[in-house]
Amino acid sequence: MATHHSRSAARMMMAPAVIVLLGWMLIPLTMTLYFSFKKYLPLRGGDLGWTGFDNYTRFISSSAFLPSVQATLIIVGGVLVITVVLGVLLALLLDQPMWGQGIVRVLVIAPFFVMPTVSGLVWKNMFMDPVNGLLAHLWKFFGATPVEWLSHASLQSIIMITSWQWLPFATLILLTAIQSLDREQLEAAEMDGAPPLKRFTYIILPHLSRAIAVVILIQTIFLLSIFAEIFVTTAGSFGTRTLTYLIYQRVLESQNVGLGSAGGVYAIILANIVAIFLMRIVGKSLDT
């Protein structure tokens, strides 16, 4: 359909975006690869020569590596499940006729505008603190012993904070999708006497599959590299050290740039495995 002329025009128009992104990918990637084969210790004089695959074996054989991959996957998976399930329910509710719908929607999307650093600090200090936190007061009010959130339920706490931030995003996309649903089809089903649960599984959910796929894809991209929420709350303690956080510790705390760079390469590989996996499931529903 497109002519030769318009094809080359298309290439011209894509060029700026492709070139800058290629640069953004290749320059740091090349430098990371370069450092990952070096013994590079900034505090011991910097570049101490080539070490082959030493950094790679060391990073992966460290006792911290597997738990960090596990923590990453638990956090990403946990947040995805919570935001998608609650997002669907919330979107269904917000789609119903009610008074003050606009205001409710504003209330629900507000957390999305809060910086991750701020939400981490606010949750940690004003809600989850076992002595002065609001949740501790709530627990005491009901006669229970306050939960030490960030130490005894650390992963759950991180998942909770992050879900709070991303729930609005999921809800919004899902709500838009629900609103585009063909009402007549729903009403017809209702006339035929299909119970609400059936209507949900056979009409609404299939219609939402595409939106759910989008939510999962976008959130995964952001969640794989979550950092600020962990940095200000647990600083990687109590099993919340994700792969990103482990790399941070290797590079900035141990000051071992070579080792951290090798970790960076692993993180890129992991991200791409997750991405390919996602595309397999999600990609299908993205096709038109």
């Binding site: 094809r7 975006a17 990637l29 929607r105 200090n125 609001l134 009402r183 939510v215």
Partner: protein, 276 residues
């Protein structure tokens, strides 16, 4: 759209939705309330909700200590600058992907998204060294470029999905009328795409505003935005809940207000092609 439901049902919906909405909003509300307390009232047992001596003292202390307006200005420039730059680069790319698709279009799109998966911490040293060479450290220009690069894939994708919903017949009709490529984009496409562009811009201003790794690590005094402002209040010595709340409120207020006023526009384009 109006569906007939019983009043009873509507009352129930309303109550439930408001309850959940307030619950979700509560942490922000609590932060705002705490910012008007004294430090001692902030940790009062039992917690004080509305009946305390409202004070502006914390805001005065924070303003006195840090030059809020400068951080704010940097945040505004960097967030808006990176978004505009990103949109300018993304529009032609998204346009060509949407209207002159090739076999590789989808691969290119997915590749673009995959560049977002590069863990920022892993490349801090390379980027820092590069920034020293280019003399971009602690400059708004440097941050604008970095944030543009980080968000460009999302911008391209959002615009692409939005453009694709524009019916091709309209373009063909315009071509029949003898419109050139330039006219096509400027006079036919752009007006139709404005809602999509608006919502793309909004989402990316939010993302850029909240980015906290690069903005903190590549700045010092001159270009530091509000994320750095918050880092000076995060855990000082002594009681700090009220001051932290005041600083937090100051950091999130501008974007919160912007978000609220423009939420209709934001929602309209925030589909990523999920709506057929």
């Amino acid at each position: 759209m109006a569906r007939s439901v019983t009043t009873q049902r509507k009352v129930f919906n309303t109550l439930l939705a408001w309850l959940i909405g307030l619950l979700i909003f509560f942490p922000i509300l609590w932060t705002i309330l705490t910012s008007f307390k004294t430090e001692a009232q902030a940790i009062n047992d039992p917690p004080l909700f509305l009946f305390f001596d409202w004070t502006l003292e914390n805001y005065a202390v924070v303003q006195d200590r840090s030059n809020y307006t400068r951080y704010l200005w940097n945040s505004v420039i960097i967030a808006i600058g990176s978004t505009i730059l990103g949109v300018l680069i993304a529009i032609p790319a998204a346009w060509s992907m949407a209207f002159i698709p090739s076999r590789r279009t989808k691969d290119i799109l997915l590749w673009m998204l995959s560049t977002k998966m590069l863990p920022a911490v892993g490349v801090l040293y390379p980027i820092y060294l590069l920034f020293i060479q280019l003399k971009l450290l602690d400059s708004r220009l440097g941050l604008t470029i970095i944030l543009m690069l980080i968000n460009l894939p999302i911008i391209v994708w959002m615009l692409y999905t939005y453009f694709r919903e524009i019916p091709g017949e309209i373009l063909e009709a315009a071509r029949m009328d003898g419109a050139g490529l330039k006219d096509e984009i400027l006079h036919v496409l752009t007006p139709m795409a404005i809602p999509g562009i608006a919502s793309t811009v909004l989402l990316n201003v939010i993302l850029a505003w909240n980015e906290a790794f690069w903005t903190l690590n590549l700045t010092a005094a001159k270009a530091a935005p509000l994320t750095a402002f918050i880092a000076s209040y995060s855990s000082p010595e002594g009681l700090f809940y009220a001051k932290l709340s005041a600083a937090s409120t100051m950091a999130i207020a501008p974007i919160l207000i912007l978000g609220w006023f423009s939420q209709k526009q934001l929602v309209r384009g925030l589909t990523f092609g999920a709506v057929k």
